[in-house]
Amino acid sequence: MSTIPGLERPAPVPSDLTQPFWDACNERRLVLQNCTNCQRLQYPPTQRCDQCGSGDNLEWKEVEGKGHIDVYMVIRDSRIRGFRAAQPINFAVITLDEDPGINFLSNLPGTPPGEVPVGAQVELIFEETSTGQLVHEWQGAA
């Protein structure tokens, strides 16, 4: 389960498209689609490259996952049942160092709500959801 007290993250349901992504998460690896034609990463996964429109050149590429905190807000009145017992809780946008055009969501486990160091470096971790499926998360870099 999450290391954030009270948090019950909805568990991702893999599809044919996203199964490799979620399988990699369960191996504690972050893989992104990469178009070998455009040499361009994309996330979340889609059927075709957003740039060239082809689905023939997409491969899964592992990334290190280092990033920085772009901006954040604090969830205080969530409509999502699994988050209500964890409020207040950080909601941050993480940009990927390997390609800052790629961004991820994070609740920043270990960072007190509202005390988020914007611009700080973060490192990839994984957290468990209700089905046991791991999801990618980020925490302040040591």
Partner: protein
């Protein structure tokens, strides 16, 4: 079909709109407005309010039921839930149709309309729907279209009845957002972008206070609005700055309040409009945006480019430019994204990053920069239609206490968000 986007003007390079000045809005009707439907009073149900709004629009235009040959509406009424499993009522309230939306067939039957040639019940939300109506009349699919947009609010906390928000699982695309608490709708991504805006331009949430207070003021000058009818008092700066925090820094006063109401409009040809009760308000162009960002969250830069593109499409199709727009009513569903429209269209010369300073200047209706003279959705309740009805009233000169003192010959109105919207350019003159 909603999925059919061929009618949209959502690309640059389309040139002057082929029906520029040949379509006019000649009628408007606004129903009663409540916070919620009580589940008992049938003439305040979605169907009941739709009938009221449509009949008012017909009376406003001086048209009869027999003059209408087109019916256009949207099922995107924000009901978020069906009336079922609660028991239905006697006909015509014996299905969802009439309770959580009102179809063209329903209103055709209940009003006894006899000359309908064109029916569309699956138009998008009101922004693009107004463009669709203009295009339908221009293309000759009908001569005179009755167009309505209900907003339905049933019992229960908004968003808490959405099944996705109560599920332990995140299927499909939500697998990449829901596990971190992202909520569907315009709130989260636009708040992220607002934070990027504040970071880039050195602004803060407090900079929205002047906009909020002026919207409520304009809403209280709107006799039919939710606040004028039900909570007729002005907010103070302290109210805003101490507002209940929803998702920090967003407070309750940044969010338009769901209401239960319906608005109707009548579009017809410029030729037919000549001898009607109201002075025609001509449509010079319509334009739409629909897109998404590259990654999980769209960014400030992506939304700024989206609105800049929307503006270019609007200028190209209408033949007007930033200095030609007198009345400007962009969407304010969350106050956090309204500045993108103001800056992207460069209304009154406002450039990127300058909106908060503009808000702090004089944006009152009697001043020189009457931004969102409608009061927006924060001032009137979330009708979305107020953006268009105020534009009509300002150009007609019938806005009463809200009538601006600056020139009011053209108006630009639309919604929803910077990346997904539909806007209409209106004018007192056809060219």
């Amino acid at each position: 079909m909603v999925s059919d986007r061929s009618w949209m003007r959502d690309r640059e390079g389309l040139g002057l709109w082929e029906h520029r000045g040949k379509v006019a809005v000649v009628g408007w009707g606004q129903s009663h407005i409540d916070r919620r439907w009580d589940g008992v009073t049938m003439d305040r149900s979605c169907g009941g309010l739709t009938k009221e709004a449509c009949l008012k629009a017909l009376a406003d235009a001086g048209l009869s039921l027999d003059d209408i040959d087109g019916l256009i509406t949207s099922a995107e009424t924000r009901a978020e839930q069906t009336w079922a499993p609660r028991p239905y009522f006697d006909p015509p309230y014996d299905t969802e149709d009439g309770l959580t939306f009102t179809s063209a067939d329903w209103i055709e039957r209940e009003l006894g309309l006899k000359n309908i040639q064109y029916r569309k019940s699956d138009a998008p939300y009101i922004g693009p729907m107004m463009g669709l109506a203009a295009q339908a009349v221009g293309d000759g699919l009908c001569e005179t279209a009755l167009v309505w947009y209900p907003m339905v609010n049933l019992a229960g906390r908004y968003g808490h009845n959405n099944p996705q928000n109560n599920s332990p699982e995140a299927p499909g695309a939500s697998a990449f957002s829901l596990p971190w608490g992202y909520q569907n709708g315009a709130m989260f991504n636009n708040l992220v972008i607002f934070q990027q805006y504040c970071k880039k331009y050195g602004k803060s949430h407090d900079g929205l206070a002047d906009l909020c207070l002026n919207l409520r003021r304009n809403g209280l000058l709107t006799p039919w609005s939710y606040y004028a009818l039900h909570e007729p008092y002005q907010l103070t700066r302290e109210d805003y700055l101490n507002g209940r925090v929803i998702e920090e820094p967003l407070v309750i006063y940044d969010c338009d309040r769901p209401v239960n109401t319906c608005a109707a409009f009548i579009f017809t040809t410029a030729e037919r409009a000549k001898d009607l009760r109201q002075k025609p308000i001509y449509v010079l162009n319509h334009a739409q945006n629909g897109g998404r960002g590259r990654s999980t969250m769209a960014t400030l830069e992506e939304h700024q480019e989206a609105v800049a593109s929307l503006a270019r499409k609007m200028w190209e199709g209408s033949g007007l430019g930033p200095d030609d727009v007198d009345i400007f009513n962009p969407y304010d569903g969350y106050l956090t994204f309204t500045q993108q429209f103001l800056e992207g269209f460069q209304w009154h010369g406002v450039k990127w990053g300058e909106a908060h300073d503009f808000y702090a200047d004089d944006i009152r209706v009697e001043g020189s920069h009457p931004f969102l003279s409608s009061g927006g959705n924060n001032g009137t309740g979330r009708t979305r239609s107020c953006l268009f009805s105020d534009s009509l009233e300002q150009l007609r000169g019938t806005a009463g206490a809200r009538q601006v003192t600056v020139k009011a010959e053209t108006a630009l109105a639309g919604c929803n968000t910077p990346d997904s919207n539909g806007f209409l350019m209106l004018s007192k003159e056809p060219d």
